[in-house]
């Protein structure tokens, strides 16, 4: 069998929002681009985003601007964000939305005919450009159609649509290749046939999205196996702050078919209440001191809030995501959960069937069609679900270049730093576009400056041997079983509430599975063989899990998407530290690295009393860098 070889200027791994935006940018800079994705073109996890894309266009409230958006993002991330990424994101998001419109996106409109914007948790003004509750689909389809449009241009000018840009769908990349310390290409296999593919390219953009499939209950699709995180680690790049994972408080836990699928926050906004198996409305017990003046401490007042929001405090069901997730988790751990390990979320008692169907149409459909549950009559069972990873590849904010590996770039969920310890809803879609574009441009600039970097035969042979391994192994381990075991470990020990002891246990157990994963044998041949595919995905998930568990063990505080039962408070000295994961070919090690200091002009955007909640007095006294 001869090896399929391709030469491109830039290889983009992942065809979600970030990958496609990067592809467009690199192509428009005059380079040849390969887009490689595990699924069919247009199926990426980006389609799952519902709420919208946050950009301070000020269409609905003209007080909005990038500075307000920047502040909101930093607050949401509890000031662990890389300030420069948050700044670039807030400044460039509106342009990225507007250009989508030029490419055919049809957002919902205001009365003036501008792009409409909606409110969302943590955003001071209505800021989310949206299309009903399918904004992610609109974004991915628009990008997909933009790619097609550029290909049509090439077809017209050169007679070959795929001359400058080609999509390699259903291809898994197993290794990023380097020569002389710089990127030289990528190696993988076609899922369809199992045959191997070599891409020679001096620049690689990783845009592979998240890691949700590492966990048992997740809102992520099968693709969220942390491929990019692991590929980057193996290529010598670093991951930053892998301990931060966002658990959405209300994912489905039952029926099994919908386990992990999101139940939108609006269900609670519309009056959904949370109860445990004793029928107790438990959220009243979980209002933290800092919120006591904003949230009702009795049912009567909470109920009145829906009618009169000025004279009553909010119901505790509407506490921030992390608080609600922790409360549900505690109830279940205390044995007051439902039969299937969740709690009840009920809108049927407060609202009439008609109103529910009108205000929550997609939720009603989701439950009725996917689960046979009529939410106008019966409660839903919900529990926290792994939703998003804030940690990711450490990058230079301006170029999205991965730190330490010339020629490697990362954008989107796979990149770290932008969201700090907790992401605001709506910020991920614009993150994809802003940094997808910057990665594409960064890669283009790099290629123009550096030129080609040929791959050696030795590197190819090594990569090929790795792919053959599961077929020659007689170890007899089953990839599906190991995956399930890993998910049990992460769910029980590295989940939403963590302790030092459990994390230590998890690290040992993950190492054990890693050892066993060397003995995975695959049945059947190479042709579209999911067992074979899982063997590679599993290897990536193991690295991610190890990195998360180890980072989490080191961080002795609770902040955003990282909660330590043994260190419940937020600690300002820990805010000054990022955790950097690196990989030596055998195990992941973590080192602490000081967080870049907020420059004075950004520091001054905040009220100093607010900063005092997050920063040490020494930092406040200094008043930012410069």
């Amino acid at each position: 069998m001869t090896l399929e070889k391709h030469k491109y200027d830039v290889v983009i791994i992942g065809a979600g929002g970030a990958g496609l935006r990067a592809a467009v940018e690199a192509r428009e800079a005059g380079l040849s681009v390969a887009i490689v994705c595990k699924s069919l073109f247009g199926k990426a996890h980006t389609v799952m985003a519902e709420g919208g894309a946050a950009a301070s266009m000020g269409n609905v409230n003209d007080n909005d601007n990038w500075m307000v958006h920047f502040r909101d993002t930093m607050r949401g991330g509890k000031f662990l964000n890389h300030y420069r990424m948050a700044e670039l994101h807030a400044k460039e998001a509106p342009d990225r939305i507007w250009e989508l419109e030029m490419w055919g996106a049809l957002f919902d409109r205001t009365n003036e005919g501008k792009i409409s914007q909606r409110n969302f948790g943590g955003h001071e003004y209505p800021r989310l450009a949206h299309v009903g509750d399918r904004t992610g689909l609109e974004l991915i389809r628009t990008m997909q159609q933009r790619i097609v449009a550029l290909q049509q241009q090439d077809a017209k000018e050169h007679g070959d649509a795929e001359k400058n840009m080609k999509v390699f769908a259903e291809v898994t990349i197993t290794e990023i290749l380097k020569e002389n310390g710089k990127i030289a290409g990528a190696y993988g296999y076609r899922r369809e046939s199992g045959s191997e593919v070599l891409f020679q390219a001096p620049a690689v953009v990783i845009a592979t999205g998240g890691v949700g499939k590492t966990f048992k209950i997740t809102s992520n699709s099968w693709e969220g196996t942390g491929d990019g995180h692991a590929l980057a680690l193996k290529a010598g790049a670093n991951l930053v702050d892998m301990e931060f994972l966002q658990f959405h408080p209300t994912g489905m836990v039952w029926p099994l078919s919908v386990k992990g699928i999101l139940v939108t926050e609006s269900v609670r906004g519309e009056g959904g209440i949370l109860t445990n198996s004793l029928g107790e409305r438990f959220m009243f017990k979980y209002i933290p001191d800092v919120f006591i003046d904003k949230y009702a401490d009795n049912e009567a007042e909470a109920d009145r809030w829906y009618e009169d929001q000025d004279n009553n405090r909010r119901p505790p069901e509407l506490l921030p995501r992390d608080e609600v997730a922790r409360a549900i988790n505690s109830e279940v751990k205390a044995g007051r959960g439902t039969e299937h390990g969740g709690v009840f979320l009920d809108v049927s008692k407060r609202l009439s069937a008609e109103v529910i169907k009108k205000r929550l149409p997609s939720m009603w459909h989701q439950f009725y069609e996917l689960a046979g549950v009529d939410i106008t009559k019966e409660p839903m069972e919900v529990g926290p679900t792994c939703h998003y990873v804030m940690g990711g590849v450490e990058v230079e904010p301006d170029s999205a270049a991965a730190v330490g590996v010339p020629g490697l770039f990362a954008a989107g969920e796979v990149a770290g730093g932008m969201h700090g310890s907790n992401r605001l809803g709506g910020n991920s879609l614009t993150d994809l576009l802003v940094f997808g574009r910057r990665a594409g441009k960064g890669a283009a600039d790099y290629v123009k400056a550096n030129g080609a970097n040929p791959v050696s035969d030795a590197a190819i042979e090594k990569a090929a041997a790795k792919i053959e391994a599961p077929f020659t192994s007689t170890g007899g381990e089953n990839a599906y079983t190991l995956h399930q075991e890993l998910q049990e470990i992460t769910h029980n020990l590295v989940g939403i509430i963590r302790t030092g002891a459990e994390l230590t246990e998890a690290i040992e157990k993950i190492a054990d599975i890693r050892k066993r994963s060397g003995n995975i044998s695959v049945t059947g041949d190479r042709k579209f063989n999911p067992g074979f595919h899982l063997a590679f995905d599993l290897d990536n998930m193991l690295l991610v899990a190890e990195s998360t568990a180890k980072s989490a063990l080191l961080r002795e505080e609770s902040r955003g998407g990282h909660t330590r039962d043994d260190f419940p408070g937020m600690n300002s000295t820990w805010r000054q530290v990022n955790h950097i994961s690196s990989f030596d070919g055998d195990k992941v090690s973590i080192k602490s690295q000081p967080l870049p200091v907020l420059p004075k002009e950004l520091f001054d955007l905040f009220d100093v009393h607010e900063l005092e909640k997050y920063m040490t007095s020494a930092e406040i006294a200094k008043g930012g860098s410069n």
Binding site: M57, V131, T481
Partner: protein, 253 residues
């Protein structure tokens, strides 16, 4: 509430293949895709199936269940009687690759043949103004998740391989309709090309595309028929044809 389920799953490739009997446990509330995953994990490690989101939003797990084109993630096991054997096959309008996975590249080729939106010359990002009522029709078509069930069920190509070259299929008729109804699109030959290049005339309105659409897009009533009427305006209606020559109505409208 486990139940034992009898399945017949088609396994094979483009040369040979057939239905294989499988018995597997099913739990309350599971969908067919859950069952396929269980078969994969416990009995057939190499059973090929496409899927992604498992929430009816990506359109990957298209297959035929008891002969009907469906998304496996949106098909409740409980919707079949206890004693019914569930037959699962790949899509039958496209070449099979392996087991439940088919080669849907036909659709990507057709997508390439439809020019993208052309915004008015000189219009800059941020400048477009469109009213909600003017974008709503196109928005319905943009709900499409590209599961290609409509393409698969359309008899024009399902039953006549030779028509594939001259017929783009329902998914692309809604794309053309979306662009033709776009309030700002400047490319105004879409009706003509719909009829002459994409084979709109092949459609005989038998509505199977609408019947199988998991997004409940009214493909026939809201896209294909309006497009046929718009084509009639230009090609088959002498009065309107004359009118358009005299007044260039398109601009006025």
């Amino acid at each position: 509430m486990a139940r034992t389920l009898k399945l017949r799953i088609w396994r094979g490739d483009d040369k040979t293949g057939g239905l294989q009997d499988v018995t597997v446990e099913a739990n309350h509330g599971e969908v067919v895709l859950d069952i396929i995953h269980r078969v994969q994990a416990t009995q057939m490690g190499d059973l090929a199936v496409r899927w992604n989101c498992k929430a009816g939003k990506c359109g990957s797990c298209s297959m035929e269940i008891n002969g009907k084109p469906r998304l496996a993630c949106m098909t409740q096991v409980a919707s079949y009687p206890e004693d019914e054997v569930i037959t699962i096959t790949p899509l039958r309008a496209f070449p099979v690759i392996k087991d439940l996975v088919t080669d849907v590249s036909f659709n990507y080729k057709k997508a390439m043949e439809i020019p993208a939106v052309v915004m008015p010359e000189g219009m800059k990002p941020g400048e477009p103004r469109m009213q909600q009522v003017d974008v709503e029709r196109s928005q319905e078509f943009r709900k499409c998740i590209e599961c290609f069930l409509c393409q698969n069920t359309c008899h024009v190509i399902r039953d006549h391989e030779e028509n594939k070259k001259s017929f783009s299929g329902p998914r692309f008729f809604i794309r053309i309709a979306e662009l033709d109804m776009h309030p700002l699109d400047m490319l105004r030959n879409r009706k003509k090309t719909a009829q002459e290049e994409h084979g709109l005339g092949f459609c005989n309105i038998t509505k199977c595309c609408t019947e199988v659409c998991p997004e409940h897009i009214k493909i026939t009533d809201n896209a294909i028929i309006p497009m046929k009427e718009r084509v009639a305006d230009e090609k088959y209606d002498p009065v309107r044809w004359l009118g358009s020559k005299i007044r260039r109505r398109e601009e006025v409208l």
